[in-house]
Symmetry: C2
Subunit: 223 residues, 2 copies
């Protein structure tokens, strides 16, 4: 389906931009992807997201929508008929929004917070971060995906974990998603990257690992 | 309209809990208000918001919905017909969500951030906080309220400013919403507390001022 000149301002290594690509692919909406250099922000990015100056931004004609979770809702409301992302029931919708916000406000900062730590501090921070994952195991009970039998809004929101987290684990030498204590989440992390539309757009490992390692070095040395 | 055993866990001085009361009153939904002692959290609060242990929580039967902006969307989606809070158009909805999130993530922390400062530091923090208010002036152009001719979701999200901010200004001796530079926002701040359903449930000034002063003293002494 034509997306009326839909353009996504993203950055190849950004899990937040990938959320939008997954959503558009699930809906079958065509879009143009524009990679932004965040070290040298374009006039375009500054014009369309003057408040936060961040990607992702979805341009629908000349209307910019910033912030990944807000973009997901915009996509879901604009193309209602194709593959609904959020559940239909208001309470289930509220819970999906609650956990997506939990991901952005608590879980992601806790997991990436371990990145600047070394030695004993790293072990302590990793344990705290593991605690933030526990509620997710509950959410997956009797379900294949967070969305149920198929992926939805919450799988998209949590998707970064299945792709970035194994690399973070490898670089830090820490296991966050332990198969014995979080078996359902572990299984989901195995399955999500193998979904065809996710698989076809994974950031290349050979570029992502050095980028994450360089990020790790920069945050360790400045903390 | 009966709210099916709707119960709001709040705290009398919380602007976030008031958001929910305004929304329910606009919709004409009956509810029971339960005041929580946040210094001695009830079993009820810990049971219904085990993740954040914070108010507000809306209990719909035995289903808890936490977090004020998520509750507002839940109320709007559950009682769709009475007084819609969010605009109908998907782009306007996205913008309303964007600015409500801006309020919670940027504006409110910047304004309350001045509270722990004194002397030159306070002046500097206040100037930075004033900058965060400027985009709101744009939003009010050719409008009476953020929602248009009547109040809506975004007026509810920003509502705290019209009630708490004048008291914060008084206690700090700082003007945030200056009539000459932010005339539309200043006029909105005058009008919002006079809307009957807002006026009838204002937190009592004689209780709120000492509470804010005590808070100011505690954050100044610990910073």
């Amino acid at each position: 389906m034509a997306g009326d000149g839909l353009k996504l301002l993203g950055m190849w290594a950004s899990p937040l931009a990938l959320r939008i690509e997954w959503a558009l692919k699930l809906k079958g909406i065509e879009y143009e992807y524009v990679d932004e250099d965040l070290n040298n922000k374009s006039e375009r990015l500054l014009k369309y997201n003057p408040i936060h100056k961040k990607i992702p931004v979805l341009l629908h004609g000349d209307k910019p929508v910033p912030e990944s979770l807000i973009i997901l809702e915009y996509i879901d409301e604009t193309w209602k008929e194709n593959y609904p992302l959020l559940p239909e029931d208001p309470y289930e919708r509220a819970m999906a929004r609650f956990w997506a916000k939990y991901n952005d406000d608590k879980l992601c900062p806790a997991l990436f917070g371990t990145f600047s730590k070394t030695g004993e501090e790293k072990v302590k921070a990793a344990k705290e971060a593991q605690e933030t994952l526990k509620p997710l195991e509950e959410l997956l009970k009797e379900k294949r995906f967070f969305g149920g039998q198929t992926i939805g809004y919450l799988d998209i929101a949590f998707g970064w974990m299945a792709i970035w987290l194994p690399l973070v684990e490898e670089i830090l030498g820490v296991t966050f998603v332990d198969e014995s204590t979080l078996p359902l989440l572990h299984a989901w992390c195995q399955e999500f990257p193998n979904i065809p539309l996710v698989k076809e757009r994974l950031p290349p490992r050979e570029k992502l690992v050095p980028k994450l390692k360089a990020f790790r070095e920069s945050v360790v040395s400045s903390s």
